[in-house]
Assembly symmetry: C4
Homo-oligomer: 353 residues x 4
């Protein structure tokens, strides 16, 4: 969710014509290297951005589902002597996971670690669309692997909670004995209350609105702290802002749908849960809740937040709202011919400021 320093993030347009030499050029730009030190480092260039996204989401999910497991499982008889955390701990865990996920990937891939962010940047900041599928795939895989590591870490405690290594069933009416709560709560959407307490007061519209609103707020802040003409976070500290931001979203907008605000954060762990024994029910629950609430709503909310920010605040050239019209282009061409440069800065010019 931080785009500064991203080689292919906000500040560059990908022409598409020099596709194959892209990574090498990027590598050169950093190091003045024209040949690779060895074969592996050459091949690595083609996967490095995607591995960074994979790693970022993996780290996010290790912290996030980790804190969910620790706080809830520590209350189970026989697992721990006292509860190891609180709701505030959970907010901290997800905030920290987001920050660490971006710190390990920000300079390589831009640190999106969220398909909703990737799609919004492709729409409003010139992130190349052709990379979007690879980014999203890497992000979901990172979520799956992160959840698997946490599942392995808390395997025995989960067994105690569930009643045995082969019990992986859905929740029933009562809270005690609700297995799905553990499953969806930890590795899915965290909205245990929706399942266990049958909180029918949360209509589908409300669930959708809650994710939509929180993701819109997320994108407004993400775009602002990467906007050089607003109040950008200092280099290397965008993840600190994200830590505080996600802590706040968890504290303020987290109760109703557990603030997925990130399709990969939900889908990756959900895939894991279907693999370890919970089966297809994780997708069919509440008319395909998994699809419209933690996936579609964040993607659309991210679009809405980005649109608002760009329409009213952003002046950078990458945004569709600031595309030059015919008059501006004509003026620009005249200026180029006469040697005066007083047009809107073109892509990349911002780096020279």
């Amino acid at each position: 969710m931080s785009m500064s320093k991203a080689p292919d993030g906000m500040s560059t347009h990908d022409s598409g014509s020099k596709d194959e030499s892209h990574f090498i050029e990027d590598y050169e730009g950093h190091d003045n290297i024209t040949i690779h030190p060895n074969a592996w480092s050459k091949y690595r260039l083609y996967i490095r951005e995607y591995v960074a996204e994979f790693l970022g989401v993996c780290i996010l999910i290790i912290f996030g589902t980790g804190v969910d497991c620790q706080v809830v499982l520590s209350t189970v008889t026989g697992v721990a002597s006292s509860q190891k955390g609180s709701y505030l701990s959970i907010s901290f865990g997800w905030g920290i996971g987001t920050a660490m996920g971006v710190w390990v990937s920000g300079g390589i891939s831009g640190g999106h670690i969220n398909p909703a962010v990737t799609i919004a940047l492709a729409t409003y900041r010139g992130f190349p669309w052709k990379k979007v599928p690879g980014y999203i795939l890497a992000q979901v895989l990172g979520g799956l692997v992160g959840a698997a590591l946490v599942y392995a870490n808390y395997y025995h405690a989960i067994n105690i909670f569930e009643g045995g290594p082969h019990v992986r069933t859905l929740a029933t009416a009562s809270l005690s004995g609700s297995l799905l709560m553990l499953f969806v709560s930890f590795f899915g959407s965290r909205n245990q209350d929706l399942l266990v307490l049958k909180l029918d007061y949360m209509t589908a519209v409300s669930c959708f609105f809650s994710e939509f609103l929180a993701t819109a707020v997320l994108l407004v802040v993400v775009l602002a702290i990467n906007d050089k003409k607003n109040m950008p976070a200092p280099p290397g500290l965008a993840p600190l802002v994200l830590f505080i931001l996600i802590l706040g979203i968890g504290a303020s907008l987290g109760m109703e749908t557990a603030y997925a605000i990130n399709p990969a954060r939900d889908l990756g762990p959900r895939l894991l849960t279907s693999m370890v024994g919970y089966g297809k029910q994780v997708y069919t629950f509440r008319n395909h809740y998994w699809l419209w609430c933690p996936i579609i709503a964040p993607i659309l909310g991210a679009q809405a937040g980005s649109m608002f920010y760009d329409a009213f605040i952003y002046t950078g050239e990458e945004s569709p709202f600031n595309r030059p019209n015919a008059a501006a282009r004509a003026h620009h061409e005249r200026a180029m011919r006469t040697g005066r440069r007083n047009m809107p800065a073109g892509p990349g010019a911002e780096d020279n400021v």
Copy 2:
């Protein structure tokens, strides 16, 4: 509350004569643009500062009233399985809201997001008075819209709390069933205890003093971290200081009047509550408490804090305490004629340091 990077904030005096070209010049200063890329980007310049203030307060209120709602509503039977936060969470939420509000607006409008700050900067830092009404209007509107979004987000939970979608009544004697508590607490002044527990021990003088003191402390810190000759926050990190500051004010001075310390933060949500069914009572309560406690006291406290800081610490030219007298002006003119420049730096000179 952060003035660094504000194009029209602390560091510039507005001459008034070149009023209409103001925004465009500012825009040029950033980008060397003499024509606008398109029509919308031209019109946007005239509203961008005000939209930034609107957006900043809106974000502040989404986090602030959001955390109020989440922590209190999650205790209502049928809403959640356990309380989703604590008093410390509330302090975090308001601190995070302030930080995020400034991060999304700081570089555009100066990130005041508080009429008391705007008025104090106009008095002591040369912020143009003619912009003050527009700023305050934008701030109050931002509070209104932010509260509306949170109200929509927690609509169903509020209904459960109130007893139904059409019940929006004032508090009665008992805590259970106190509807006004929810209302004022979440969207108003948060001082639920004053209403519900009939805490007559808090006299009007005490309420006024509490808001006055907290806002004076707020302004002393805000002016200090924007004072280049003191210990200014690094570029882009003033909001981090504000996060910690508001967290502290909530923890230390927040019990008695719920630290409004910001007229827009109270009036905006209060307007929303009168619209959604609580009516005029929100204004008539306790001899127009809404006016003298969360509006007048913060404005005067901000003046007092600024006056103390400027009288004893600040040496910048913008402050009335550092206006040159006749002798200094005469010296300055002589120096200008002789080519020596050893006078107090005039407005704008600071930018050349």
Copy 3:
């Protein structure tokens, strides 16, 4: 506790000969001003450093004793509907107060806001001894005024707690009805347990050791983050480190003597309590506990921490451990004559790096 940017702090030696022109030179150094804009700004130069220390401690005490009052008083029947904070809140409040106190004074006076720090810097960093008495007086006065403001802010709640506006008595055996607890805890040394629970297990040696150890740790960190050859905090962010540090000392070493670690933090509020009705008992308690535990122990602990840091880590010229011996001085003089400069950098030279 932050020495960077302090005009007369660590990095300069005061020759003593140009004493009267000192402030003006300093002022000039910032602004190229040779005359003062007006009379007040001229007189202000002579008091500004001391006012900054006063203000810094005042802010520290407002947050610190404020959070003490809020957390404890909110538990009293009739004061609030629920507890407004926890032990962690108290740790946060004191950490935030320290950070804010340094942010408002750091660039003016060095932001010591602690007599133990001032004395240690005079001993080990060349801070002029002649300023030490004025600094300490200003710090204690700041503590007194800060406590008075908090006392005024919570006056009515304290009355409810004490049983009336004229009841200001010492603690008796039982916790309920212990008035001294409120007094010493909030405005004194916070070690309510020593008084109320008669925790004789805490011997005088243990009390002394606890303050000694915590202040030694404090100084090691303070010196490290101001040591340009170690890992200094970025400009403007030393208070952030102090926030985290004080939060940690409160969490880890705060239980036994309530981590005064600052003579002004204890003595200022203690003076206030003797004025508002508690009388001489606040000084006679436990064989003049007020003197040897929260005053002498921190001063000696600060010396010990500084000594350790300078003996093993610090290489700067200001420290007595790095004073050049005769051979080094002779080498230096030869080098000066021959035009080569390869001696230990003299005072002030560090600023040219």
Copy 4:
């Protein structure tokens, strides 16, 4: 765990030939000093790095075991009037200890304060192997002394907890009266539950995996925030990131084995406990748990995390994954002869960027 600014850390290779003049050169590089100001400052150069590691771990353990003691001991009857902290406090304390430990040592020794980090940096970042034993010895000694200071600080409260100054026995079945819990929990591995509750569900494999995973995550983040081509933490702020990171590991992965993730953090305090009366049992418990869980697992986990980061993300020359092969070396030599410099930057070249 921060390697920036470390004179002998990541960015330099130690040739071994100029071993004795090493420190002096380093000293010169900072200050242009060719002779030492006095005899002590000359001798100090030979031990300064090791003292910094000692001091860093000592500070870490003071905060870490300090918060353990405070939170648990304050619940014992007669020790305090209320619990002074919570599980979240403990997470804060260890995070703060880590940050402060690095802040006081980062610029001198690199701030490893963890043998697993030291070994990983020797393997993957060219940290000289010949310094590794000295570093580890200093780290373990720092842990021992830090634990001794905390033990002295809480001596009387521990006596109340244990039942007397000469009672230092192992835990029995019941929680009340479990002495080993205090011992191992505070000064050992914190995994009180393993001992007291006989949590046999935590198999040896699970214990090992938990430490392995947490340390791998630690190293991925540590390497990322010191990687200039990723998103490095700003100078002086790496400890802030570590504070957040350790807070997160405690919240998310801390329940099962108490996240030793640092052999010195466990072994140092464990040595102290065997000295003060707990004897050999601290080593024989559970088939030498002390060796394979908090020592071997973190070392191997650190290797795994570093290997992953370097294999897929890191492009710096120091890593074995980026060693130039024969072709690259030949190309480099040709380039050197022809004056063109387009090879991978050699060691030290990075500093010129």
